[in-house]
């Protein structure tokens, strides 16, 4: 199970509003059931990051992060999501699995589906 920390300034609004979008994008890439998302605030991200595989943030982080960090602005703006997702998938699948660049639609990405537990 890959652990994702999703943070915004206060951990109240933006991270929560984005959580569903990030989940949907991960599921569209066939990663359903392989990850869990925890919401948090930017100020705590550095401290908590040691427990996570990836931190997606909508804001600048205060301290050093122990895990890779991806800017989640594209989910807010609804733009360039593919590039952001490429990076996220690359990090999550980092050790071993070799995911090809996914040019096309989510339907096409469904072929990568490998773990379809319903939740």
């Amino acid at each position: 199970m890959k652990k994702i920390l999703l943070v915004c300034g206060s951990g109240l609004y933006t991270s929560r509003a984005l959580s569903q979008r990030v989940s949907k994008a991960l599921d569209d890439r066939g990663l359903r059931g392989t990850y869990e998302i925890t919401l948090g605030k930017a100020a705590d991200a550095g401290e908590e990051s040691g427990d996570f595989d990836l931190c997606i943030t909508t804001t600048t982080l205060d301290g050093e992060c122990a895990c890779p960090v991806v800017n989640g602005a594209s989910f807010l703006l609804g733009r360039d999501i593919r590039q952001t997702m490429d990076r996220i998938v690359e990090i999550l699948m980092g050790d071993g699995e070799n995911l090809q660049d996914t040019e096309e639609s989510p339907e096409k990405n469904a072929q990568y589906s490998q773990n379809d537990s319903d939740e």
Binding site: Y13, A17, N71
Partner: protein, 164 residues
């Protein structure tokens, strides 16, 4: 949602020289409606300095300022439609300037009790044409009605239904 999005929380044709002034004006609306504590205005400005909330959508720049839950009494939303845009900094990219023509000030108490319409706002923003539609409203009544309709349409899309 009906009672949450009401004309009293809209400032249409708002004149502000800078973001701070616009933030004060909207915080005052929330305060007058009893949604936030007196400390909210300062808190929201301080937070904006630290974590900027400008968002550069292709059709228009906006900002979604908010503050920590302790300054909020009840969840809600105040909307400013500015006569001339004011400068905010982009969320997550403070080096990027955003000319915001619309400001959505969020009063959020707790993630558990966050109303659905606040979460749906992002869908409204991301659908092209919506921000322009809202910005062209001439009165608080019209703007409140417009945002309600946009939120309803968005909600219906999510459920796969819709009118017509």
């Amino acid at each position: 949602m009906e009672e949450d999005i009401r004309p009293e929380l809209f400032a249409v044709g708002m004149k502000a020289d800078c973001a701070q002034e616009a933030l004060d004006c909207l915080a005052e609306l929330l305060y007058r409606q009893g949604l936030v504590r007196e400390s909210f205005a300062e808190a929201v400005k301080a937070r904006e300095r630290r974590y900027s909330t400008g968002l550069a959508f292709p059709e228009m720049g906006i900002a979604i300022p908010h503050a920590d839950a302790e300054h909020v009494i009840r969840p809600g939303l105040a909307v400013g439609i500015l006569k001339e845009p004011v400068e905010f900094r982009h969320m997550g990219m403070p080096e990027v300037s955003v000319e915001a023509g619309l400001i959505f000030m969020l009063a959020i108490r707790d993630e558990e009790e966050q109303p659905e319409y606040l979460a749906n706002l992002l869908d409204v923003f991301q659908t092209e044409g919506n921000l322009t539609k809202l910005a062209s409203c001439r009165s608080a009544e019209e703007a409140a009605g417009c945002l309600k309709r946009l939120l309803q349409t968005t909600g219906q899309c999510d459920k796969g239904g819709g009118e017509e």
